[in-house]
């Protein structure tokens, strides 16, 4: 497993925002919208182009101590997010 200082950053094409009418976070991009589930939204909210994956994991673990080991979930989601070009690495 890589614990390199890999720092994800949002693709500026996408805007993360809470939508009251949808009751969830969404990603907005030119003429489109994706609804996010809670864990995806939690992870994306931690991404600021400065915080590494390790730190994100640490922060989320503190926020949700009952969640157990979330490393795999985070990595899996980040891989999807990268494939969809929502994020890239600094």
């Amino acid at each position: 497993m890589t614990h390199a200082p890999n720092v994800p950053k949002m693709n500026t094409l996408f805007r993360l925002q809470f939508e009251k009418a949808q009751g969830c976070f969404v990603l907005l991009y030119p003429e489109g919208m994706v609804k996010l589930n809670d864990s995806a939204a939690e992870i994306l909210q931690q991404i600021d182009g400065l915080t590494s994956v390790d730190e994100i994991q640490h922060q989320l673990q503190q926020k949700f101590p009952q969640a157990g080991d979330i490393r795999d979930d985070i990595e899996e989601f980040l891989a999807t997010a990268q494939a969809k070009r929502w994020i890239s690495y600094v």
């Binding site: 094409l13 805007r15 009418a21 907005l28 991009y29 030119p30 003429e31 489109g32 919208m33």
Partner: protein, 371 residues
């Protein structure tokens, strides 16, 4: 019976600010009756429309037209839209854009500018657009849009006029560093319907174009522009799920304030409400015209007993109306429709156009030219 039980918000709000446009594309889907400038909504009325729609749950806001840049209050509307939480899209021909305006719009919070191109070189582009120097202007503006940090989306309307240029169009899109590129074959509404015989590519041309785009995409290696190719449904067996279902997702407001479930619905023999007379919530949830084709109870045969009706909702009401004269019929594109021969005949007829190509113009302009 209320059909309203599961109606979600109008996620997409299309604000057609004006039908005025400096270009004269024959594929334009604006109505052939362009209305009067004096009847356009005021700034206050538009601001109110945006506020109301946002409260109802609209999230994507498109400013289009015509050419929306012709409205001097565009920046004000963008600012209000962005501040209320919309993702704001400007859909423009690029004519009338300046570096200063691109920056002002950015400061107002505009999220995205989509520039339309008619072709990949000045000669053909300007011939289709009916205006000299249009291509150079678009090119310049596209570069500034990119350098100002907007997502860059290019839109090429594909027709028989430019379909042979697909390789050059792909190349130009890469040169301009576009993020998304829509290669959308013209939809036959408004002016484009009258010009269909000149615009509809042959099936062979389409197959070839699509294969070229697919081939290009395969060697792209997940870098460069994302190309989206949209074929005309005339060559399909099933109609498109028009507007994702009548009044399910899209709300169009025309320059004079008419509220429509799709930008071409004004041609239908239905009375559509106006935002100066009714609230957006009333229009969306209660108006007769919006409820009319919601759900399935309106559907004729063969749709009524078809197991695909949840996929395409019986197709496009405007297309059914334009081709059969009856908006309640199955979209003739469907091979199960009794009217499907109309499509095959249209394809045949397009091989030998009889009427001349009609560039989009105001009747008044045409009268002036004849003087």
């Amino acid at each position: 019976m209320s059909k309203d039980a599961h109606v979600g918000p109008p996620l997409w709000l299309l604000a057609e600010l004006t039908y005025e446009c400096p270009l004269h594309c024959a594929y334009c889907s604006n109505p052939t009756d362009l209305g009067k400038r004096e009847d356009e909504l005021t700034t206050e009325a538009w601001l109110d429309v945006l506020t109301q729609a946002r409260e109802l749950g609209s999230v994507q806001l498109g400013f289009s037209g015509g050419e929306p840049l012709l409205r001097k209050d565009l920046e004000t509307l963008v600012e209000h839209g962005r501040q209320s939480g919309f993702y704001t899209n400007l859909i423009t021909s690029g004519i009338g854009l300046t570096e200063k305006r691109i920056k002002q719009l950015k400061a107002a919070g505009l999220d995205h500018i989509q520039i339309s191109f008619q072709a990949a070189d000045p000669e053909l582009n300007d011939a289709i657009a009916g205006r000299g120097k249009a291509f150079d202007q678009k090119l310049k503006m596209a570069e500034i849009v990119k350098s100002e940090g907007y997502p860059m989306v290019l839109n090429f309307v594909i027709s028989r006029q430019n379909i042979e240029q697909i390789p050059q169009i792909l190349e130009l899109s890469c040169q301009l560093n576009a993020d998304y590129v829509e290669l959308a074959t013209a939809q036959y509404y408004g002016w484009a319907f009258d010009n269909r015989d000149h615009l509809l590519p042959t099936q062979q041309q389409l197959r070839h174009a699509e294969a070229t785009v697919n081939g290009f995409r395969d060697q792209q290696d997940n870098a460069g522009p994302q190309f989206i190719f949209v074929t005309p449904d005339y060559y399909e067996d099933r109609p498109k799920a028009c507007m994702n279902g009548w009044a399910s997702t899209f709300l169009t407001i025309t320059p004079d304030g008419s509220a429509l479930p799709c930008h071409s619905a004004k041609i239908l023999p239905l009375d559509f409400p106006n935002v100066t007379e009714k609230t957006i919530a009333d229009i969306w949830h209660k108006d007769f015209s919006f409820n009319h084709f919601r759900g399935e109870s309106w559907m004729p045969q063969p749709c009524q007993s078809c197991d695909e009706k949840e996929k395409d909702f019986g197709g496009c009401r405007c297309q059914a109306f334009m081709l059969t004269g009856d908006m309640n019929r199955t979209d003739p594109v469907c091979s199960k429709s009794d009217d499907h021969h109309l499509i095959t005949e249209a394809i045949e007829q397009a091989k030998n156009p009889t009427a001349p190509l009609k560039h989009r113009k105001r009747v008044a302009d045409i009268a002036l030219m004849k003087l």
